[in-house]
Amino acid sequence: MRGLLCGTTANTNEEYKQVVKIRMYRFLCLGLVGAITFVTALLAEFYWKLDVKEQMLGVYTGAGAGILGASVLLWIKNKRLLGNEEKLKASRISNADERIKEISNKAFKMAAVIMLIAMYATALIGGLFYPVLVELLLAIVSIFVFAYLVSYFVYSKRM
């Protein structure tokens, strides 16, 4: 996901430092989302005493802790990058490399096609047992198609 999520056009280390600082700020926001999810799940169980299934509480606390942990680790990794010019340069080049970006775009396109096929198959087969699956998966596919059309329109205006 390097080229897809971390792609940059920075040509110098100074430009890339700004990119890394913005990225660190995003990790802080993501960590906050994780912390809120984690704390809310704990409050729901121990303070508000809500009637939530044990399995779902595990999912919420696990997802929250996972997002928080990953954000902290990535924040530290980026912070260390800022203090090491050699590593910063290596990271900048690998994130700015046009071939890596193209590989990521192609891999993402392939993954999107496979995901759509998997969702269609799941809706068809799973719908026989759980009709709600058809509605849910068709809604997700609709969001995907809608997001694609909007993005296509926006980028066609820019390019």
Binding site: N11, R92, I93, A96, D97, E98, R99, I100, E102
Partner: protein, 69 residues
């Protein structure tokens, strides 16, 4: 697309790493360009041409048949 990057690189005694650093790509991208597995963008082609102080056409050999034109 065939290129003369390797030829020019050896002529000027430049390593793949040095060229990669100069044009802001990874060494793997230089290898792919030299093998003809990857076609450079116009910007990268310009950077490489500027590095070797030659024109783009002198490095990248455009084959109409290969490109289905």
């Amino acid at each position: 697309m065939q290129t003369k990057i390797q030829e020019l690189r050896k002529l000027k005694k430049v390593t793949q790493n040095e060229l990669a650093d100069a044009v802001n790509v990874t060494r793997q991208t230089i290898i792919s360009l030299e093998c003809g597995r990857y076609n450079a963008s116009l910007i990268l082609a310009h950077k490489i041409a500027q590095f070797f102080e030659v024109s783009i056409e002198e490095i990248f050999i455009f084959n109409q048949e290969d490109e289905n034109l």
